[in-house]
């Protein structure tokens, strides 16, 4: 009885929301997967600038301790300049596997990011919105949104001290996400606007990441 009721509600919801919209085909899902499936998801590692050098005080504390204890980075004291002690954070051999030194352009300075899993596209769904040009009339059209999980997390992401130090990881790894980036139709293909490289900075608020 309950099952029949739920099925009926699902059908009703489908009728009211998506009756006029064609359901995305398996091909649409395949097209999105071809662009972002397996993409490494990475978050800022301690700093927006490489090398990571701050005062020893700024790099003390439980968060950096957790990264050190997980064997990802080590603290290296910098030569004494008569001022406060300063420290450089260097990746260990193990840490280098998940480190991404991103350069937006070959001449740009590098930014350190730590990658904690890979994108797995779970579902796609059409969304109707104004797709007309900014200078033209309103035109209702379809874009494609997708939902994903972050899978294949490295073992260190399961450590209790890491989870305690960086609570965003729990949400990132345990929950389903709806991608900000949407795909638009180009000919017979759905094309994602935005980052489709093999590594990407995860869609996170600016205050989330592996900050000290």
């Amino acid at each position: 009885m309950t099952r029949a009721l739920v099925a009926g509600l699902v059908l009703l919801a489908a009728c009211s929301e998506g009756a006029s919209q064609p359901q995305p085909s398996g091909e649409a899902l395949a097209q999105i997967r071809a662009q972002v499936e397996g993409q490494r998801q990475c978050a800022p590692l301690l700093s927006g600038t490489w090398p990571i050098e701050f005062s020893a005080d700024a790099l003390s504390g439980a968060k950096v301790d957790a990264l050190v204890a997980a064997g990802l980075v080590r603290r290296v004291a910098l030569p004494d300049t008569g001022d406060r002690p300063r420290v450089r954070i260097e990746p260990t051999e193990a840490g280098k596997r998940d480190l991404w030194l991103r350069r937006l352009d070959p001449t740009s300075p590098a930014e350190p990011l730590l990658c904690y899993g890979r994108k797995q596209v779970v579902a796609v769904r059409p969304e109707t919105r104004d797709t007309g040009a900014a200078t033209g009339p309103t035109v209702k059209g379809e874009v494609l949104r997708y939902d994903y999980r972050i899978v294949q997390p490295p073992a260190w992401t399961q450590r209790a001290d890491i989870r305690a130090a960086f609570p965003f990881l729990t949400r990132q790894l345990d929950e389903m996400h709806s991608a900000e980036q949407a795909a638009t139709r180009e000919g017979d293909r759905w094309v994602l606007n935005g980052d489709t490289g093999k590594d990407a900075s995860a869609e996170l608020p600016a205050d989330q990441g592996f900050f000290p």
């Binding site: 600038t49 300075p109 606007n193 900050f211």
Partner: protein, 338 residues
């Protein structure tokens, strides 16, 4: 040196390091990436120093991402003095950002570095601090409008000027013979609450910001592409003069033109288009950032050449710049948005 002063200096030094690493440096990466793409699109070798300075101040003002960039832009807005419409947009945007930390009515430099300490510290000590504020303001004025090849050094200098101001203010409070210990403690509380003494929350993501800055550059170009054309001899299409329009398209003061010679000289708003390759790139970046093209598709003979169609482009550029400003406004004093 008393522990309190040293401890405050350490707090400021660590926060300044974080502003530098997580806001200034990534912002410069985003700006340089956007600027390179913009120049490649227009196939320009290089802009003049003045044009580069205007672009940087425009980016910092309209797409600040943080109160630091907005505050730094405020002290260099003079470089946009001759560009009425842009100056208006930039001024609106920086005012919103300064509002986030109540620096609109106050001196933004002072508020960024020492908070409201001057509300507590008066007399001789207050005068010493005010002198330091004047020095920092003078050293920061137009800083973003100079030395276009070293944006990182400019921002670093801007930060160091403010750090020195904070140190001098703390030193003056510590040495003061007129302030009670209770007032000194209150003044220190204000110093410690100032933005420069606190780390920004997170970091600017240059990968997200760069396309927005690039789109902003194109929108500024489109916004600047209008001019008021006047026919000086009635009926003679060879006797035309033109002048830039300082009003925004959304303003009631935006010229509407005149087609009736009996009511004065015939005038119309002329708009220059950037050309096919540039328009393609504008569409591409607009699609990346906003999910749709900028230009309405043309018919058999390309885009409509009607004056109204071109005016719509200028009006849309203003709307897009306002949207970009909305998207990159910090919502809290230490908050970042890209």
């Amino acid at each position: 040196m008393p522990d309190r002063l040293q401890s405050y200096r350490n707090q400021v030094s660590d926060a300044v390091d974080a502003w530098q690493a997580n806001v200034c440096n990534p912002y410069i990466i985003a700006y340089n990436t956007a600027y390179k793409s913009y120049n490649d699109t227009f196939k320009k070798q290089n802009d003049s120093d003045k044009a580069r300075a205007e672009l940087f101040v425009t980016a910092a003002a309209i797409l600040p991402g943080s109160i630091l960039m907005a505050t730094a832009a405020t002290s260099s807005l003079r470089v946009l003095a001759n560009r009425g419409a842009l100056r208006l947009l930039a001024g609106r945007s920086t005012t919103r950002a300064l509002n986030v930390y109540n620096a609109v009515a106050a001196n933004a430099t002072a508020t960024f570095a020492i908070g409201k300490a001057l509300d507590i510290v008066k007399d001789e000590t207050g005068k010493v601090i005010k002198d330091s504020v004047v020095k920092a303001m003078s050293n920061s004025r137009d800083l973003l409008a100079t030395d276009p090849l070293n944006r990182d050094k400019q921002l670093n200098s801007w930060l160091i000027n403010h750090k020195l101001l904070a140190f001098e203010a703390a030193d003056a409070i510590e040495r003061s013979g007129s302030l009670s210990e209770r007032d000194k403690a209150r003044a220190y509380d204000s110093l410690r609450a100032a933005p420069i003494a606190n780390k920004p929350k997170g970091k600017i993501d240059p990968a997200r910001l760069a396309p927005k800055i690039e789109l902003g550059f194109y929108m500024v170009w489109v916004l600047d592409s209008d001019e008021l054309v006047t026919q000086t001899i009635p009926g003679n299409m060879h006797s035309l003069t033109s002048k830039p329009i300082d009003a925004l398209p959304s303003s009631r003061d935006y010229p509407r033109g005149n087609t009736d010679p009996s009511r004065g000289p015939v005038q119309w708003v002329g708009v220059t288009r950037p050309g096919g390759d540039v328009e393609d790139q504008i569409d591409k970046v607009h699609k990346h950032v906003r999910g749709n093209a900028f230009y309405a598709p043309g018919g058999w003979f390309g885009k409509s050449d009607a004056g109204q169609a071109r005016l719509k482009e200028v009006a849309a550029a203003e709307r897009t710049l306002t949207w970009l400003s909305d998207m990159t406004q910090p919502l809290a004093p230490l908050g970042l948005r890209t």
